[in-house]
Amino acid sequence: MSAPQAAHAEPKAAAEGEWEPKLIVFCCNWCSYAGADLAGVSRLQMPTNFRVIRTMCSARVDPEFVLRAFASGADGVLVLGCHPADCHYIGGNYRTRRRIALLRVLLEQYGFNPDRLKLEWVSASEGAKFQKTIKEFNETVKELGPNPLTEE
């Protein structure tokens, strides 16, 4: 039947042959993307199984993007934005946090573990927080296992 089973590559085996989740990380242009960049230039070590999608503001992350990410086989979705009071567009991140909270309830109704979706604030100077967030989220999703839509 027609459960959404978008084409995607098999999860890449890590060095030890362990399953690695596929993570999508939405980063807002003004804080979190710069934070990710800083983590990169500072050569902070972190897992590499995530793909960053840059949006102008975390509020640009339409719930539809998140649902599509899961339908296309993402095992976890991380939304990163500026800290409260720091959004470049004044209150974008306040909308984001309301949407993500509601979306987590919806995902649970769909049968997903809501911990597959996480919101975190990462500023431009927080390269280390970016690293820590990725590491921790990767661990959480690893424990959850593959996205139930991609397993049959």
């Binding site: 027609s2 339409d62 719930p63 539809e64 339908a71 509601l102 573990n113 593959p146």
Partner: protein, 339 residues
């Protein structure tokens, strides 16, 4: 007689309301009889599946198919009618988006059959007899359609030419469409492009006559919990109204009846997922005050928990056509709760 069009109207997994809607076009129904021979319409006229099977392919001018597809019989007849019809119209919200039966995608065949046949307080079924696709009796084999795990939309099963959403489609939309088909048959007027939605291209809020101003709410209410101002936008009063995520075309019927829109016309032309779109809109109208920066994610989760049933509210008519489509099952149960 010879230039009459041939019309079929079938019901899949629906409630019968769409059939009644076609009867409800009042005296126009006589016009339908004038322009059309009804070759198949189980609720209203006699007709046998084998008669349809005997017809040449493509010989039915137009089939209006209402109801979702959720068992083997629905699917079989959808495919048969598709083969025999020049035009296949997905008629009503159930056929277009899954409709109310589509919420069956929150569960599965086994759970449904178990509950209905053995689990209800009124069920008296000690031997736990569940309907089977085939039953042997001394007089021969009895067959029943197979219920599917997943409710499907018509276009997930057969090629669809036009969509006419609505629960049920309004008299206006039905008349408009039948008029187009008649003009096409009699005068060779062009048909709408394939895949067209027989409704408006706009958003329901555009059709709604209520006064709209700044939307800022601090909580949501169910319609019975507050006196509703009949002039003012529902959403501004804290009542969840799906207008901003719903296609126009019904004439904002429910708003006229002082009830919020529940979204039966389906998503607007620009959007894939009606539920996701409404979730986004609702979250955005919650007001933000000076203390916002001090709120934690837990505070926000509590605030949004006022929306008791996002799935039932935002996907009331469209779950099978949503991006995720049906409930999934996680292999492992929750790991750890966030602090």
């Amino acid at each position: 007689m010879s230039n009459k069009i041939k019309l079929a109207h079938y019901w899949g997994a629906g409630c019968g309301g769409c059939d009644v809607a076609l009867l409800d076009i009042d005296e126009k129904i006589l016009g339908v009889a004038e322009i059309a021979d009804i070759v198949f319409w189980p609720i209203a006229v006699d007709g046998k599946v084998k008669d349809i099977e005997a017809m040449p392919d493509g010989s039915i001018t137009c089939t209006l198919f209402n109801g979702a597809v959720r068992n083997s019989e629905n699917e079989h007849i959808a495919k048969l009618l598709r083969k025999k019809s020049a035009l296949m119209v997905s008629f009503g919200s159930c056929a277009c988006y899954g409709g109310i039966p589509g919420l069956g995608n929150l569960t599965n065949r086994k759970e449904i059959l178990d509950l209905v046949y053995t689990g209800l307080p009124t069920s008296d079924n000690v031997e736990k007899v569940i309907p089977q696709p085939a039953t042997h009796t001394k007089d021969g084999e009895l067959e029943l359609p197979v219920l599917y795990d997943t409710v499907l939309t018509l276009d997930q099963v057969v090629d669809v030419d036009y969509y006419m959403p609505g629960c049920p489609p309004t008299t206006n939309l039905i008349n408009e469409f039948l008029g187009i088909v008649e003009k096409h048959v009699k005068e060779g007027a062009p048909l709408p492009p394939k895949g067209a939605v027989i409704a408006s291209q706009k958003t329901l809020c555009d059709e709604c006559k209520r006064k709209k101003s700044v939307k800022k709410i601090d909580r949501v209410y169910l319609p019975h919990e507050i006196p509703i101002d009949p002039e003012k936008c529902m959403l501004e009063q804290g009542i969840i109204c799906l207008g901003s995520s719903t296609r126009a075309g019904c004439g904002a019927k429910c708003l006229e009846g002082n009830q919020p829109c529940r979204g039966c016309m389906g998503p607007t032309a620009e959007v894939l997922d009606q539920g996701g779109s409404m979730l986004s809109a609702l979250a955005s109208v919650y007001k933000v005050d000076e203390k916002e920066a001090l709120l934690t994610e837990e505070n926000i989760a509590e605030l949004m928990a006022q929306v008791k049933d996002p799935m039932g509210t935002f996907y009331c008519y469209t779950m099978p056509k949503s991006i995720i489509k049906r409930k999934v099952v996680e292999k492992k149960k929750p790991v750890k709760k966030e602090a």
